[in-house]
Symmetry: C2
Subunit: 156 residues, 2 copies
DNA sequence: TATTGTTATACTCTATAACTATA
DNA sequence: TATAGTTATAGAGTATAACAATA
């Protein structure tokens, strides 16, 4: 164990590494650490596109769900409406999305990617797929699928 | 562009649910959602003990690594030193931990659980184990182990 | 009366720079 | 010169209350 010279039960923390066995048996702890690892790579690579994780999620959803509303994005991504406002405004300011009146509901606004937005999403999705493969390089394709399936059992 | 009633490939976002297939194929997205799900249950149940996730991690680490220093906790949990200060102060103020001079390094402070701290950790660890089982109830014991192992391949 | 989108705001979490005392 | 712990502070991220326009 970690008993350098003298006692054993009193001061094991003198060694550099701590015993993390309890935490390492928790799904929550490991899910957070795993997410954090990927998150770091994501931030590094996607800075080139000026996209954070939420930004990417929103743009990608709009690419595959043209005309989606803020409310739908919030419900899908577990974001609170007030916190989406500035994000959407920023995307609009960058010319990546357009707000059009919703065809069936005068209160709502349909969000659509612009041509520039579609181009960026295409590149960004490729970059994310690659970054994910790199960040999970120690997993086989089969393991990666299994991991995703098990994670979805936690929240879906 | 947006053809409201006739076409079907143009405005799919009229339905309530959005197509999330791209995001659902990403490990990062799923790890975050999975962690968030457990995180919610954790917050609900552990409020009774006055412990957030970091608080629990720190106390649990100290239970199994008596005399660990702030620096070691920071390195282990990926916390920045300034952000641990108030946490440790709070635990001290609640009478859960004690700061003792480090035996071999005059700069460092060894952190130790008090009797009250040890009692709380014992109860809290039991509660967390139970909460984890409930939050991952849709996983078999084997699946839970697999999930943890795969997550660790992402960061360890 | 309920819902969409919004403003304003507060609270928490995370990050950076700089200081002190020891090594 | 480098490290452990700390202070102060800034910036993200997340939360609530309240309002206008529309249903």
């Amino acid at each position: 164990m970690a008993t350098p010279r003298t006692r054993k039960t009193e001061s094991p923390a003198r060694s550099e590494q701590l015993d993390t066995r309890v935490l390492e048996n928790l799904v929550g702890y490991n899910a957070r650490r795993g997410w954090l690892a990927i998150s770091t790579v994501f931030a590094e690579r996607m800075a080139a596109y000026g996209l954070k994780q939420v930004d990417f999620s929103v743009l990608s959803l709009l690419a595959h769900n043209p005309g989606a509303t803020s409310r739908q994005l919030c419900a899908t991504l577990d974001i609170l409406p007030p916190n989406l406002v500035s994000l959407v405004a920023a995307m609009d300011g960058r010319g990546l999305i357009e707000r059009r009146p919703h065809p069936h509901d005068g209160r709502a606004v349909g969000l659509h990617l612009t041509a520039a937005g579609r181009k960026l999403v295409r590149e960004a999705e490729e970059a994310v797929v690659q970054l994910e493969l790199d960040a999970s390089a120690r997993l086989s394709a089969r393991e990666r699928e299994t991991l995703i399936g098990l994670l979805q059992k936690l929240y879906r």
